[in-house]
Symmetry: C2
Subunit: 245 residues, 2 copies
Amino acid sequence: MPRYKITIEYDGTNYSGWQRQEKDPSIQEEIEKAAVNFLHHEITLTGAGRTDAGVHALGQVASFDTDKEFTNFALCSAFNAWLKPQPIVVIDAQKVDDDFSARFSAIERSYIYKILNRKFRPALMENRCWHVPQELDVDAMRDSAQIFLGKHDFTSFRAAACQAKSPIRTLDEFTITKENDMILFHLRAKSFLHHQVRNLVGTLKLVGEHTWTKQDVQNALDAKDRKAAGPTAPACGLYFEKVLY
Amino acid sequence: MPRYKITIEYDGTNYSGWQRQEKDPSIQEEIEKAAVNFLHHEITLTGAGRTDAGVHALGQVASFDTDKEFTNFALCSAFNAWLKPQPIVVIDAQKVDDDFSARFSAIERSYIYKILNRKFRPALMENRCWHVPQELDVDAMRDSAQIFLGKHDFTSFRAAACQAKSPIRTLDEFTITKENDMILFHLRAKSFLHHQVRNLVGTLKLVGEHTWTKQDVQNALDAKDRKAAGPTAPACGLYFEKVLY
């Protein structure tokens, strides 16, 4: 039975997140519902990452099985015809081997977090960034971000609901750039804990506003206690960027 | 009587454009209406440029007179309190000299035009870009764009409704960059004709898809006839970026 891998861009604002829920509409459910219209059978998507409510994706990846054969273009087009006009678009599709899993075959995931750092609220980026009115010290945040690079116990930065067996993760990139008023956090790792990116950004924001020092950040990591770290940054600033296999 | 200059960011999608209209809501009207609430008198805004329906602004500028005195921060905050939740935000305010005009004192205006160049429609940039599915040759467009640099008679690229006395304009910059799937056109001039940016981009798109050669572009410019040039690119891809004084 052919297995396909699809890459999806979405605006997470009006969804309960990636994963199918009892009640509220999820991205996974909308794509699975779209598929039934042209596959004429139900599918279950395996996603590369479970994005939370309000989190966006530039390149979420999911895999599924079907007994139908498609060209890559035809499969994307069929999904998009049925997903329209929702802000969920299948931007790529590929036939993959039987043992491929969008979740378990991933060797690297990357996220971008966007902070609009100016006095007044966004007009064009509403629901697409975290608006922080007080000026943030980007150099100080960049310096403290170095603490998180490499292999660490990220217990202080994982959600209480996190289902991962181990709190150990290896962060391969944590760079911070600025484009006009927008501060961009770029993170790469094989995998992330639940809320890890948002908790790291929420903690670095304390450094950016000079509430915390680099030593405070080190202490938070060392404490291995969620209560020792900073607050969770809002979902709307987070983008699941891409997955490597 | 104090004169103020305000800088405005807006999402033009649901407005009839900058300029006040008989019927449909315009950006100018919404800001003038907001002002009455805290100035307690009517104002008339002079805008740096008249953006069309659906065109966005990162830094439109307008000037107006009032007998009240404000700090820059207080004036922005007052406007934004009354403009909320509309996607129109006053991001800067400054007291200026009596002879300042947002329109006539401008020495340079800049625009950005965004084309999303990929097979499938945008999820995150809907209404914020022109979606062109066929692959465009950026180098060819960049080469042809050189034709428009400097002082020219832009009759072939002005709207029939254009009210400017002269079709002569001097284009100081026309650069084209690419960021992932997004092609960005950057244009700078003292002033632009009505639809000039959109007509230039619509014409270069013909070059990008290899329908037109560089010579065809030169012929269109030389013809001094709107019918000789390419179609008008959609409003949703255009951003009024900033104004220098």
